[in-house]
Amino acid sequence: MSEQIKISIQHLYKIFGDDPEMALEHVKNGVGKTELLAEYGHVLGLQDINVDMVAGEITVIMGLSGSGKSTLIRHLNRLIDPTSGQVLVDGDDVISYDEESLRRLRRQQMSMVFQKFALLPHRTVVENAAMPLVVRGEDKESAVQEGSKWLERVGLQGNDHQHPHQLSGGMQQRVGIARALTSNSDIMLMDEAFSALDPLIRTDMQDLLLELQQELHKTIVFITHDLDEALKLADHLVILKDGYTVQQGEPQEILLHPNDPYIVDFISDINRARVLRVRSIMEPKTEAIEGPVAGDIDGNDNLESVIAASEGDTSLNYRVVSRGEQIGVLHMQDLVKALVPTSAAEGGVRGKV
């Protein structure tokens, strides 16, 4: 599959305050976030963000509150205008768009799912789902039909004529997703879409999203503050802190090679056996293996399932296959070592406790 860049964010800065241009100069000269606020009264929202998002993949932007992740996603459809920088969508600079082309972008190319659902309370569920098409000026009847189709796809049959307030949170967010899908845009922006839901429903919704993605191959930009969620969904993970990118890359890579104490702190708590996959810790090797082989496992299996299969025996070796071909060998000893987290950073938040 060719890696076609769908969205490219380049040197994006956002400064909140009365005179962002002046503050931008200071930031480029190396003034930090706290200093900028204390001395110049400006808030540094985003600082030199560079992210490429590949078409058909899920890019997860993760950070704690105040890290600028919601600000960043709103730059993609220009709900917020940047102080400086470029956002290229299919090679076109969105920042230079006039009102008309911006509206076209929002109507045709990008849809958005919100943390608080943001459904229209006075419209029925199906009218909400059909909203993007009605906004474009399409015929109401066919729009409603399309909306109804997607509602069914996200598992909401028979609620078409209820109002949003009659549904539970999880169901409302399904409507929010159906609305985004009805717009039939290539890009879906999801702003903490599952954060307001309770844990079981959240897991359901994550599974639903992955299942839909298998079939639809949208370019999804997903914002979250939850690392487990980020690792589950991400093809590409971007970690933000105080408005700058701490690290970005493949989630497995970040997990095994964190480059910042902040990230070490972050990942020290997660269940590594569930998140890490065989292909990240195997020894890549295509020639035949000498010695006994306990069996074949898939490169995308997580370690938990391998541990279950081995019944805890650490002396075994497994052949790792992908699409019927051997791609490597997994030594159970390596697996056990990989389960030990990189020790919590001394300078990090946890180091102090």
Binding site: R106, A118, L119, V135
Partner: protein, 339 residues
């Protein structure tokens, strides 16, 4: 000898002040002179225009301020009338039209129409029954015509209030500058005693013209609908507005598809207040020839006819209950449709 003579003498302004005319002497001054007492410090009068005038005739008296205002108004009156008269003329037509329609349609047609409107607005047969009993009671005690005149005036004035007030409210919700400018005007309209606007209006228009009381009622009653439209639109959930933007709604789509529908409960509450305030004003407006139950109230006061006053007051209460319940029932229906 006036109290503040010393200031002008001390500053050497006596010449500028001019000679005191003997003039008429106030009663107080006369008393003071007769008793021969000099004033103690306790009685030092505030250096107001009138007191300074006593000491120095070149300073105007306070009377000059009010009479100056009056002559100023009279001066621009003709010019103002040329502009305002044609603009407000349609109001006279609407009011006379509505009055003659409400009065010429026979009662056995009018009452069912009104009850039909009540039913459409409230979808409640109980409320229709209540309204029917009130109107029949008023008709039975021969207050039907008066009540219809009052209703006609309220109908026209409230309608115009809504037609003007909602767009003003929407404009205010979109511009903070406009909001800052309009709110003091609304505060003034709401607190200025209603009799006060009647005075300049009487100068501008003839007392026989219906628009005279029409304008007074509209100025008084338009305030809540403007305020609550502005408030209602500003209170619309910002998340929903963001969603509307994110899906590329135009301003117009956002206004009609999101903001107005979501602000509707507040706007309706404003309409309810506007109707109640026009009912209050229609009584006062009877001072300037507004027909209706207010005329009877006025007669009750003027001739001390206790019974007439009380019964017509009761009639106004009944109308108020009808208008309030019907608009609130309509509001409740809007609310349940949305929540």
């Amino acid at each position: 000898m006036a109290t503040y003579d010393f200031i002008f003498d001390g500053l050497g302004l006596r010449g500028w002040c001019g000679e005191k005319t003997g003039g008429t002497m106030g009663m107080e001054e006369l008393l003071a002179r007769n008793s021969g007492e000099t004033r103690s410090l306790w009685e030092l009068p505030f250096p107001s225009l009138d007191n300074l005038h006593d000491a120095c005739p070149a300073i105007a008296q306070t009377r000059g301020l009010t009479s100056g205002l009056e002559s100023g108004f009279l001066g621009i009156k003709d010019a103002l009338k040329v502009v305002v008269d044609p603009i407000t003329q349609p109001l006279s037509w609407f009011l006379s039209g509505a009055l003659s329609i409400f009065q010429t349609v026979p009662w056995f047609v009018m009452i069912p129409i009104l009850l039909g409107i009540v039913y459409i607005a409230s979808k409640s047969t109980r409320l229709v029954g209540m309204v029917a009993s009130f109107i029949l009671f008023l008709a039975f005690i021969d207050h039907y015509d008066y009540a219809m005149q009052t209703l006609a005036i309220i109908f026209v004035c409230s309608l115009i209030c809504v037609l003007l007030g909602v767009p003003i409210g929407i404009a205010m919700s979109r511009s903070d500058g406009l909001q800052r400018g309009v709110i003091p005007v609304l505060d003034m309209l709401q607190t200025l005693p209603p009799f006060v606007y009647l005075i300049p209006l009487i100068f501008l228009f003839s007392v026989t013209e219906p628009k005279l009381y029409g304008i007074a009622i509209i100025l008084y009653a338009i305030v809540p609908v403007i305020r609550l439209t502005d408030l209602g639109i500003r209170l619309v959930d910002t998340d929903v507005i963001e969603a509307a933007d994110a899906y590329g709604m135009t301003d117009r789509q956002k206004l009609y598809g999101v903001q107005i529908p979501l602000a509707l409960p507040n706007i309706m509450a404003g309409v309810n207040q506007t109707i109640m305030m026009s009912l209050a004003m229609v009584v006062i407006a009877s001072l300037v020839s507004a027909p209706g139950l207010g005329v009877l109230v006025l007669r009750g006061i003027r001739n001390l006819e206790l019974g007439v006053g009380l019964i017509s007051g009761l009639g106004i209460v009944l109308l108020a209950i009808i208008l309030d319940r019907v608009t609130k029932a309509a509001l409740a229906r809007v609310n349940t449709a949305q929540q």
